[in-house]
């Protein structure tokens, strides 16, 4: 199907196709790079805050600046030992949390249906939101194992 470059919908569709992974394998590779990027975002913020350059970080963790550059460019994937070394060198700690996307989408549907109902009735409306989870529930289990949990997201 040819693209009419003056047509908003055509342009949107063309780019949407570009940024949609073409296979499950591609989607997983994207996710892996994104998880790495979440770590590296924190790493970059931290080493710049300390006034370091990338080569300083490389030296501290015993690797080459070009390896670090390849990680930042997304051409190589980081491993957990390297994350531990960065954490140690920068004296930081990564906090890990996860979001249940099923729960999140059902909550959105619930709120959206409630709002639609009230708006259709032409009434003023209150927006009810569930109480936040207790502080205890929000605490991260300190005994977690990365290998035991395969859907962790880094904050």
């Amino acid at each position: 199907m040819s693209t009419n470059w003056n047509n908003k919908k055509d342009i949107h569709r063309a780019f949407h196709d570009l940024i949609t992974p073409s296979s499950y394998e591609e989607k997983i590779k994207d996710e892996a790079r994104l998880i790495m990027a979440r770590f590296l975002s924190e790493v970059e913020t931290s080493y710049k805050k300390k006034g370091w350059r990338r080569k300083d970080l490389a030296k501290k963790i015993g690797t080459s600046p070009s390896y670090i550059t390849q990680l930042f460019r997304g051409t190589k994937l980081i491993n957990l030992e390297m994350i531990a070394k960065m954490q140690d060198a920068l004296n930081i700690k990564f906090n890990i949390s996860s979001v249940d996307l099923d729960e999140e989408s059902s909550l959105e549907k619930h709120e959206s249906s409630y709002l639609n109902q009230k708006i259709l009735g032409k009434e003023g409306f209150w927006v009810y939101k569930p109480f936040p989870k207790s502080a205890q529930e929000d605490e991260i289990d300190s005994d977690f194992s990365i290998e035991d949990d395969n859907h962790l997201i880094i904050a």
């Binding site: 570009l18 940024i19 970059e44 460019r73």
Partner: protein, 132 residues
Amino acid sequence: MKRKAIKISESADHKKAIYVDKQNAEKIYHYINQDKRHKNKFRHITHIILEGLRNTELYDKEDIDKKSKGVTAMKFFKGQENDRIYCKEITTENKTFVVIACELHQKKKSKGISHKEKNIIHNVAEYEYELE
């Protein structure tokens, strides 16, 4: 006259969005669509922007002087082809953070900013947009 920009992607919370300059959309599209390597890189950069992550190796400000405020660059294959898509960052009235991919610049040769690049960056800084 205001230029037009078309939305191509947004974050799940709708607080961040990526648009493309309508006038340059075809050129930018064909550049990204040339092979899998370019498409993978573009997807990765869009994810980084939409999550608000910091990675100056792939996306960074190009504020070379006072006349280049709000201009950024998506960086493709630094140290190799060294291509750029110059972008403009704006915040809409409803507080959505928007990055508009404005101008493609291929084979950035020098490490510093050439006269040609300076011109593109200054032009992009002056672009005004109507978001479609």
